[in-house]
Amino acid sequence: MNGGSIPLSRLSHYEHLKMDNIFSGVIENAAVLVLYLDRNGKVALCNKKTQSLVGLKSADILGKNWLKVLFRGSDNAMQRDMFKAVLDDALTYKRAKDFECHLLSDQGGFRLIFWNVAPVLDKLGQVQGSLFFGQDITEVQERKNSVKNIDDSLKNIISSIDEYALYVINLDGLITYFGMGCEKMFGYSKPQIIFKHVGILHNVNKADSELSLILERVRLFGKYESELELFTNSGLPIPVRLTVNQFLDAQGKLTGYVFIAKDITQTKKLEYQVFQAEKLAALGQLSAGMAHEINNPLFVISGRLEMLKQEEFTPKLKETVNLIDSQVNRIRKLVDRILKFARKSTLTLEKININEIIEMVLSLAHYNKLPSVKVEIEKSFQQNMPKVLGDADQLQEVFLNMIINAYQAMPEGGVIKITTSNFQNLYTQVQIADTGVGIPAANFKDIFMPFFSTKGQGTGLGLSICHNIIKNHNGSIELESRVNQGTTFTVKLPFI
């Protein structure tokens, strides 16, 4: 379309007439807009298509200045200037040009026209006028825009929901698309993973069987949906809800598979917490009943023993009585601990500065029977923190328990780092981190359960009591641990 000028003057008069007859029919009925303006911009030819679009009869247009007739009104000024510039360019510099501009339609609203304009020259090469061919591309453009809008909004949706990751593999299992959420979820950058086998995201030991099962399902049922674990770049498992669909080309031929993984860590965590809370509540009830049943006979034993101690004994017998006494005391203390765990104790609430509580605990820790190894305590306290509403005695018990645990986790010494901070202006966060033996991941789920202990000393009630106390404060308690690297306990307590 972007041709040069049309040398009308090279045609003979006869040829002119002949051409005129053929052309005028073709031009008049053409499906495109045809417009011929003389060198003054007046309309010399305007075909039916153009007339119907602008809603004017040829008599109303012919001989009129095109720009004045067509671009009425101030809304149109910009379109008129553009049209004029192109026209001037054609007339002055004899240049042909393609351009798009809006025309006010007879039906109301603007139509987008793609124009091709070429200057018409006489035999001396002088400009006679300019010939315009125009095509209404309004619908084409709208379709393009809507596709682009959908495309843009899809991209926005996918990139804004970061618990989702969308990736595509081809029939060889190689990753061909690694969407926005993917980098965040899996920790791989696009260049790192594109054209790698998708097995890289699965458990090394069962990637093959897992994937063949998934793809088999997709081929059979068109879709796969299940909960499983995928793995990050650093080897950490993430629980996900995975949906896999067929990826078909325009002809409906299978070209790959679309994977959508939703991170369900939080859901899992909640489910686990509810489960844990129910389990602890049931255990609490059981423990309270048991403790009561033990306390009664224990009371009788210790009472009778007390009376027995008033009697005269041989030294050997006296030793035996003392031994019984100390063992009875041991049972009594154990039952007390159980009752403490089981009890829904009411809190004596006061406004508490958590830093002061921890300072108090650290001074208390000195008087406890701590292993005599070199343990360094690093404190990093945030000052001027909002206060929390809590029971000072109970919170002291929680932190004392954790610090003693930290000591016991470091039989060869180490560092205990205690950090307090403001978490999102909602919680006071206390972290107690040791550099000790750590807790194997398999034990995480039992760590707050009563009677769970790996220490061979103690009752295994300490952390379950801590858990209950923090829960009664509407707070949370979490741990992170790596074997031989250490354990970090994080306690969050809501501000007042």
């Binding site: 009664n296 006979p297 829904k344």
Partner: protein, 128 residues
């Protein structure tokens, strides 16, 4: 200090122990095994104080306490329980008008002295 004590507990070995402990202190303990029995005895005899177990077979100790409070306004009642220092039980007992609370998990010597302390306080208050 020769208190006449009504000891209420549904476990015989516990009753016997308490009886022996108080006898050693020159008190006069009378024992019974249920709340119903205790209320019947109270109708017949006067006591200086009642030592009442909370978890009883039949009418619970707290119910018995309520009943005693209504019928014998000035009779001191000390509650005793194998549940130890349960705050809910303590506050309910106080609300129903006991003059003291003892956990069976306390060392025995402390139980006796604490009991005597409670009775002494109640008697002084009653006179004042």
């Amino acid at each position: 200090m020769n208190y006449k004590i009504l000891v209420v507990d549904d476990e015989a070995p516990v009753r016997d122990l308490l009886e022996d402990l108080f006898k050693k202190e020159n008190c006069l303990p009378i024992t019974c095994g249920s709340g119903e029995e205790a209320l019947a005895v109270l109708k017949e005899e006067a006591f200086d104080v009642v030592l009442l177990d909370i978890k009883l077979a039949g009418t619970s100790g707290l119910e018995v306490l309520k009943d005693i409070r209504e019928k014998y306004t000035n009779l001191p009642v000390v509650m005793i329980t194998g549940f130890g220092f349960d705050e809910e039980l303590i506050s309910k007992s106080k609300q129903f008008g006991c003059c003291g609370y003892i956990g069976k998990n306390m060392p025995v010597t402390e139980i006796v002295t604490t009991f005597k302390q409670f009775v002494k306080e109640a008697k002084t208050k009653g006179k004042a």
